[in-house]
Symmetry: C2
């Protein structure tokens, strides 16, 4: 039912971060900018999952704030689920804290929510339907 | 060639951390203690990969130090590779910094190395052969 869709990794320099994965022999996608999230990113497919390398495009973006506070590194884990509405209903019933109350719609039309790190052992957990 | 073998997540309380994944409907393994790493852990299978929840068994362990410095959260990413010796040779040639110079042998007989976060965009990257 579940699968790791991707791991979000906050980096200062996309060019420098891409280099390590290219040295490992992995394929790195073309760069893409997501205006609403103020990030420039590349994807690195790894088996059924992907690494998402994230560079801030604005100094007051979530990724820039994260790096200022914690340094570069793992930012979030995204799990793919089949029925997001059912999962969110169960989490609400169990008192799990979500970052936003509503399911959001991403750029590609996919549905997602974030579980707050306080409810997930310090991990920012994204749940995406797919 | 590559696959995400597991994500290591440093937590203060294994019991509390297990609860969130059980609420998501995931299966959590029995607890296991790894003396040489001073951790108690459970595995949470997710698709072809796993989440590894890690609780320190000693206040001077790597996991306890990590939590003291950065708080609970993602600790390392482990990628599975087919020929670890070949990958390590290529990384050395490219000047990538490893945490230890030699390939180590884990409890289950598996071969592994850690790439230093300074060479991997702030991510502690474990490479395991399998």
């Amino acid at each position: 039912m579940y699968q790791i869709d991707h791991l979000g990794i906050a980096v200062k320099s996309l060019a420098a971060a891409k280099a390590i994965y290219e040295k490992l022999g992995l394929i790195v996608s073309a760069e893409e900018t997501v205006e609403q999230e103020q990030v420039r990113l590349v994807m690195v497919p790894v088996g059924e999952s992907r690494l998402e390398l994230l560079e801030a495009t604005s100094p007051d973006s979530a990724i820039a704030n994260f790096i200022a506070k914690r340094g570069e590194g793992l930012h979030h884990v995204c799990l793919k689920v089949q029925d997001l509405s059912a999962v969110v209903a169960r989490l609400r019933k169990d008192g799990v804290r979500l970052v936003s109350e509503e399911i959001k719609i991403g750029a590609g039309g996919h549905r997602y929510v974030f579980v707050h790190p306080a409810s997930a052992g310090g991990v920012l957990l994204e749940l995406v339907e797919g």
